[in-house]
Symmetry: C2
Subunit: 136 residues, 2 copies
DNA sequence: GCACATAGTGAAGTACATACGCGAAATGGC
DNA sequence: GCCATTTCGCGTATGTACTTCACTATGTGC
């Protein structure tokens, strides 16, 4: 169960290197994968209030990772868009993740890895069930 | 990799029920396992600054989970000690954890579980190695 | 055109965590 | 015993993440 803690710590270490915090990195990650996104959509994706997204985006704008662009059809909304720097960081994060996974799972035998993944999958499924059973 | 996130969320749900936050629960958990502890020791165990421990303990004192007792030999130090309520909550947390584990791993075949644990252990070991290689 | 929902923000408040600095108490050398 | 140094907990100030409530500006249904 403590694997969890170490995984998180490692993730944070990675973020800190780029001058990002966990939350801001999460937001950047989301935009990296989905392209320009409204703050509303982000608040749902990250499961925090939209007000909070405003603050996170403020921070990322101030540090030059993203910009706020006008939405083409909805004048209320803004599209959070990656700057070149933001894109570069997103790519770096992606590569580091790949590398990281490779390090962790690298020398597993094929069948071994399969069993492991199957087991984790089983747990994941059950967890999702629990999460749904008591939605807060 | 997303298993991680769900695990954390579930943990927080559990905490929230008892009127605790993650950090405070972590502190309580530590005191529950190690008995009366100086704030200094807690700051090392939880890997946060001692100043922060002061704040967390303040909160737990205010809500009646712990008390500050005088250290028998060192008059500078205080011993963070569980109240009856604190002990009860600690025990509840422990039981819930057992229950939770049972739900997750309950119907695994014996050998299956062994392989899974072995695999996770392997990963854990490697993670610890990485963590040590770049100590922040 | 008006009621109503939606997108983002201002204000205020909580929790967590940090750094710096302080006073009180322990500790070690002499 | 006395002074220098270290250690323990806390005050102050700062920053980030997060929430709720209230508000403006804009889109939408009928």
């Amino acid at each position: 169960m403590e694997l969890n803690i170490l995984l998180n710590e490692d993730a944070e270490r990675g973020m800190a290197q780029s001058g990002l915090t966990t939350s801001r990195a999460g937001l950047l990650w989301e935009v990296f994968h989905h392209g320009p996104t409204t703050q509303r959509a982000l608040s749902e994706a990250l499961k925090v209030t939209s007000r909070n997204i405003t603050g996170l985006v403020d921070g990322l704008v101030a540090t030059g990772f993203v910009t706020r662009e006008a939405h083409p059809t909805d004048r209320r909304a803004t599209l959070v868009t990656l700057t070149e720097h933001g894109k570069a960081i997103g790519l770096t994060m992606f590569q580091q993740q790949q590398e990281f996974a490779a390090t962790l799972f690298g020398d597993f035998a094929e069948g071994e890895l399969d069993t492991l993944v199957a087991g984790l999958d089983k747990i994941l499924t059950r967890l999702r069930g629990l999460a749904q059973a008591q939605p807060d």
